[in-house]
């Protein structure tokens, strides 16, 4: 990786940190659990690293490792979103009931 590319990624990192900081402070404490679950699901983005790594692999060891990485990250992503959905559904229900009343 060249020095310029690294610097470029660092700039992205710093800017994302600012965005993240302001976004997260705006989140209501009542939703901290779903927040963890959603942020956890999207941290499964490493799956893209797994896919790229798998496609570049030339020996069987690294193929198995990146294959497993894709699998684990996939569990993380889909499980995380499903869990968040399950939690958020419970929060949603009340406003619906209220609407009916």
């Amino acid at each position: 990786m060249s020095c310029m590319e690294t610097m470029y990624l660092f700039e992205i990192l710093i800017l994302s940190a600012f965005i993240g900081y302001f976004v997260i402070w705006g989140i209501t404490p009542a939703l901290h659990s779903p927040l963890m679950s959603v942020s956890n699901a999207i941290s499964g983005i490493v799956i893209i690293g797994g896919i790229l790594s798998f496609e570049n692999s030339e020996n069987i060891n690294s193929e198995i490792m990146s294959f497993t990485a894709i699998f684990l990250a996939s569990v993380n992503i889909f499980g995380g979103f499903a869990l968040s959905e399950r939690m958020l559904k419970m929060f949603k229900k009340k406003s619906d009931q209220k609407g009916k009343k």
């Binding site: 990192l13 209501t28 659990s33 679950s37 999207i42 941290s43 684990l72 406003s95």
Partner: protein, 448 residues
Amino acid sequence: MDVFHSILLLISSSFFIVALRSLSSPHTARNGNLLGMIGMIIALLSALSFHSTNDIYIIIALLSGALIGIYSAMKINIKSLPEMIAAFNGLGGMAAVLISLAEITEKNNDYLPNSIGLIIGALAFSGSIIAILKLSGKIFSGTIIFKGQHIINLLLFTAIIFLCFLLIFKENIRLFYIMGALSFLLGILLVLPIGGADMPIIISVLNAYSGFAAIGIGFVMNSVIMVIIGTLVGVSGTVLAYIMTKSMNRSLANVILGNIAGNKKNNIISTDKNIHRSSPEDAAFMMENATNIIIVVGYGLAVAQAQIILKKMADILENKYSDNVKFAIHPVAGRMPGHMNVLLAEAGVDYEKIFALDDINNDFASTDIAIVVGANDIVNPAAETDKNSPLYGMPVLEVWKAKTVFVIKRSLSSGYAGVENPLFFYDNTLMIFGDAKEVLEKIVQNLE
């Protein structure tokens, strides 16, 4: 990476940011989750559109992972939610570990970012395993401290950092493996001393780790989206951990070093003090005649699985006796951030009736009855009055300002911090001993 892929990933990142932002209110939260899913699908499609001969294996790994993930998320008992979240954190960390190992074996000699992915991924993985074992009670859930623990941790930490720098100058795959093994060990040792009530903090920290590991892999793969998302998740976990430590008036270092346990030993509850016992029948009678009631819930509610019956009691009080019932939640109640909110949501309590510490603390003075279910340290007045108390300075729910306080508790035992709670001996405090679920059932019977 061409322009087409860059645009797709840019769109995907925007979706993720808006998704997180949507969690600011329960009204928009579910849309937020949907946006997150769309963002992820776009990112996956973009990665898959590179085409290769191996696509079929990638699809197999992806689909089998998706099936298992969705199945376990749907099947898991809501009671085990903290374990599940810790498990997903750990999996993300392990994925990062495997990718960095695969890259290094493929002669990707960019050691520094690979090392970061490996170290933090390993910490997240082994830390989460210990957290799960502790949460599910498979190993002692309190603090586990042995002699020289801090020194061993410090040595491990120094060795890992040293290896990390050494590998930049001297590429050596064996040292890389050793560094990984040491990181796994450090993850175990870091979480071992952390006990029950500190779990919300450690879960947040593990959450942050899974993000930082993704940043490392992002630098390995030279991928903008992984750096963006990794940073968002890392910041999210860090901010949560900060909020949790603030709510306990402790520093992160203090939590990690397990210092509060030092106060545990010499706190034998003095039984000779006067307590006022009460019964479910009396409680029911007093609640019928009250106007304003605030219910304070703690982890004990989750343990007793009493949330449904609690909601029933609140409903009867509101509908039959037209009492004004509110719920109060302390930020660190439970085993993960927002745990009690999920528990009450599961029972069907309207989230507009649930209030956070700062929003409700002034209301206790005008409240007839405060009911404390399964909570202890978060309602300890010593946190405000006793300078020698380990809890001193921690923001607490000022239940004692209510006219009458009912405390539903198994016994007089001290809370997690091992500190005696003077609240139990106050003149306006009435203790009801017993299992939260049974006591609440009796109260409901009497109310009906």
